[in-house]
């Protein structure tokens, strides 16, 4: 929009130059303006349509979550709603056990994010700021670990957690999430920390700072954008994980929100309104995190892309 206005105004002075030229010149200019306006409306219309199309499933879920099951059963999921109730949310929250599951999810996600980013930032600091032996091998090892599909480790993880006596406990899940996350976070943070000028660190050394102080007071604050982006990403990854949860947990009171969401599905019949309400509840924390860290999220997408 602004571009169009600016362009129009730029042309204005040339209008007043010759009165004779103005009348014949006005027609093509108007058509140019009209063409621009047309293009702008076209763009907005197309983009609006596209986003409407993209939002449609979300709207459908929201609408379904406020219908009664009898309404859905009688008219079908795709029909116009004939009822309005918030009972689906109550059923998912109370009967479906989503309250407990949401607490479990947060109990796993928050410590996992803090722990894995804490460990990863320390490792990245050491690997990027000091000339450690085998640091290249170590980094490649971490990268290599990320290239392996984690699914091939399902059985070893399940059996190992049993041997360690932490099977069916939230600690097991935290351990798994930290273990599988650290490699990638180190890789990304290493790339970021390497770009911090060496002079800053040297200045700190001259001022008498030890490695711990340099890490805590110099590098960590400078790496904040990367940490914010990574914590937003890892929060959604860990929060949305289902595979590891059902691999190391088996008691319903320990299950996170994702596992409890598929639990809302009946053996044969699915109550779509309750499932939709459960999905809305399960999506709420990640949406909140996304909105809060939106800026960092976009930054996170090209994090480590250019080194």
């Amino acid at each position: 929009m602004t571009a169009t206005h600016a362009a129009a105004r730029v042309e204005e002075p040339s209008d007043g130059d010759g009165r004779t030229a103005k009348v014949p010149a006005a027609a093509p200019r108007r058509s140019v303006l009209r063409g621009r306006a047309l293009r702008t409306t076209g763009f907005h219309l197309a983009a609006g349509l596209l986003s409407a199309l993209w939002l449609l499933p979300i709207v459908l879920v929201l609408v379904t979550s406020t219908r009664t099951f009898d309404d859905i059963a009688a008219h079908g999921v795709g029909s116009w709603p004939h009822s309005f109730t918030l009972d689906g949310f109550r059923q998912a929250w109370v009967d479906g056990g989503q309250q407990r599951a949401l607490i479990n999810s947060l109990l796993v996600t928050i410590p996992s994010v803090l722990l894995s980013l804490g460990l990863a930032s320390m490792a990245a600091f050491g690997l990027s700021r000091y000339d450690l032996p085998f640091r290249r091998v170590l980094l490649l090892l971490m990268l290599g670990g990320n290239l392996l599909p984690p699914q091939i480790l399902l059985i070893p993880v399940s059996k190992l957690s049993e041997v360690l006596g932490i099977y069916d406990q939230l600690y097991a899940l935290i351990g798994v999430q930290v273990g599988f996350g650290v490699g990638f976070y180190v890789f990304v943070l290493h790339g970021f920390m390497r770009a911090i000028p060496g002079e800053i660190q040297q200045a700190a050394v001259i001022d008498g700072a030890g490695p711990w102080q340099i890490y805590w007071r110099i590098i960590l604050p400078l790496a904040r954008p990367a940490l914010a982006a990574l914590s937003a990403l890892s929060f959604t990854w860990i929060f949305n994980d289902l595979l590891w949860a059902i691999t190391v947990l088996r008691t319903d009171t320990q299950m996170p929100i994702t596992a409890s969401l598929i639990g809302l599905q009946g053996q044969y019949v699915s109550m779509w309104n309750v499932i939709a309400a459960g999905s809305v509840i399960a999506a709420a924390p990640t949406v909140a995190v996304f909105l809060r860290f939106q800026r960092h999220f976009v930054a996170g997408l090209n994090l480590g892309a250019v080194k």
């Binding site: 099951f69 009898d70 309404d71 059963a73 009688a74 008219h75 079908g76 999921v77 059923q91 998912a92 009967d95 479906g96 699914q151 399902l154 059985i155 399940s158 059996k159 049993e162 041997v163 099977y167 595979l243 059902i246 691999t247 088996r250 008691t251 319903d252 299950m255 596992a259 409890s260 598929i262 639990g263 809302l264 599905q265 009946g266 053996q267 044969y268 019949v269 699915s270 109550m271 309750v274």
Partner: protein, 430 residues
């Protein structure tokens, strides 16, 4: 019958791999003190009844058991899809849950063969279970060890369900045999209604197997059907071909959307009168609005060959226990309780109410529909479970592929059956 979820195929494959791997590596982590009779802690009941309503009725059942004194039980509900894929892992873990909801027959047998199930011979001698029918006794006995490994608690039936008000509106009656059935279909079609709904689309392609099961037990008999599923006959045999020849007579009356929509949507179509009737298990009533329940009725799958003994499809549900349970005494106490009439009535009262109790003296929900269903099964000469329960979860996808293919391209039936036989062979030879 158990729900299959094609949309989660990848997830299933992955988790299935966990299961098999767990089976293979089980010997490594086997606990040394696995065979103790008494050990502390409550008996854990691992349940796949995860829908809010079913979960609540299970909770009430366990609460009632705990109030009765003696052993203590703890209910643990996991999503049915998770349960299905993790069951082998549960059974082979060092400290497994004690009791599991699952199915008798060949499905339980596959675990019994690996010696993973607790021997329940002694509780079958108790008063709670001694009155059970011979068919159930046979169903719960492991064919490899001759021991009883399963406690059945409820079953449901399959039938041709329709809406009474719609049949009255169209002026048609329940048919008695195959010819009357085809006449009925003809009449419905002339009124612009798709006579037969199916619902084998989306994530419920297994619904089509009900047609194969029923046609096979009506044309070739239940014994042949079971032998076929066990790999003693071939899917490209002329007997199986005869099943599809009979199906061809009814196929023109199938809803053209039959393989496009899942059964829950097909139920809506039936209730709205867009289709006339539907071969389905009673669980579909959960997908109907409450005010339509009284309007539902069913008739027996029509008799095709009167010489073939009448068999019906009635999948049985119940429990088995892990052989590695450390609380065998408590397990048996809970299983005997669940087998009793009182517990079964309590469960049915709180659940959707279309299931039937296995205890001969337990009262069912008492609605006309349930009374009719119980009579249907009790008068049957033989009872089959369902395609996957009479064979295995591995064989079910081969049937889904073959039947959906058949419904789309019926002329290719010859090659479809050859392919089916080939893929079934791979599973039988495992």
């Amino acid at each position: 019958m158990t729900a299959f979820n094609a949309s989660r195929r990848r997830f299933l494959a992955v988790s299935g791999a966990v299961g098999t791997g767990a089976l293979l590596s089980s010997c490594v982590t086997q606990s040394p003190s696995a065979s103790g009779g008494k050990s502390g802690g409550p008996v854990t009941l691992q349940s796949n009844l995860s829908s809010p309503q079913a979960k609540t009725s299970m909770q009430q059942l366990v609460a009632a058991f705990n109030k009765s004194g003696g052993a203590e039980a703890k209910l643990n509900t996991v999503a049915s899809e998770t349960f299905r894929t993790q069951l082998p892992t549960y059974l082979t873990s060092a400290n497994p849950p004690d009791i599991y909801t699952w199915y008798p027959g060949s499905v339980a047998e596959s675990y019994a063969k690996k010696d993973l199930l607790l021997d329940l011979d002694d509780i079958w001698g108790k008063p709670e279970l001694s009155g059970y029918s011979d068919a159930l006794k046979k169903l719960c006995t492991s064919t490899s060890s001759g021991k009883k490994v399963f406690v059945p608690t409820s079953y449901y039936w399959w039938g041709m369900f329709y809406r009474k008000s719609n049949f009255a509106k169209w002026g048609v009656q329940e048919p008695k045999n195959w010819d009357e059935f085809l006449d009925l279909c003809d009449k419905l079609k002339s009124k612009g209604v798709a006579p037969i709904g199916l619902g084998a689309g989306g994530d419920t392609p297994w619904v089509a197997s009900a047609w194969f099961d029923y046609l096979n037990i009506r044309v070739n008999g239940a014994t042949y059907h079971r032998e076929l599923l066990a790999g003693k006959h071939r899917f490209d045999d002329p007997e199986v071909r005869k099943v599809f020849d009979t199906w061809d007579e009814a196929r023109p009356y199938f809803d053209p959307n039959g393989t496009a929509i899942p059964f829950q949507d097909a139920t809506t179509a039936l209730l709205q009168g867009r289709t006339g009737m539907m071969l389905i298990g009673t669980f579909f009533a959960d997908a109907a609005p409450k005010d339509a329940l009284g309007d539902l009725d069913f008739f027996q799958f029509p008799i095709i060959d009167p010489k073939v003994p009448v068999a019906e499809e009635a999948p049985t549900d119940g429990y088995f226990a892990s052989a590695r349970s450390k609380r065998a005494d408590g397990v048996k106490e809970l299983l005997s309780y669940l087998a009793g009439a009182e517990a079964q009535e309590l469960y049915l009262k709180n659940s959707s109410g279309t299931a039937l109790p296995t205890h001969p003296d337990a009262k069912d929900a008492g609605t006309p529909l349930v009374v009719k269903g119980r009579k249907l099964i009790e008068s049957a000469a033989d009872v089959t479970q369902f395609f996957n329960r009479d064979s295995s979860d591995a064989l079910q996808p081969t049937a889904d592929t073959a039947l959906v293919h058949y419904l789309a391209k019926p002329k290719q039936i010859g090659s479809i059956l050859t392919t089916w036989q080939r893929s079934a062979q791979k599973i039988w030879s495992q």
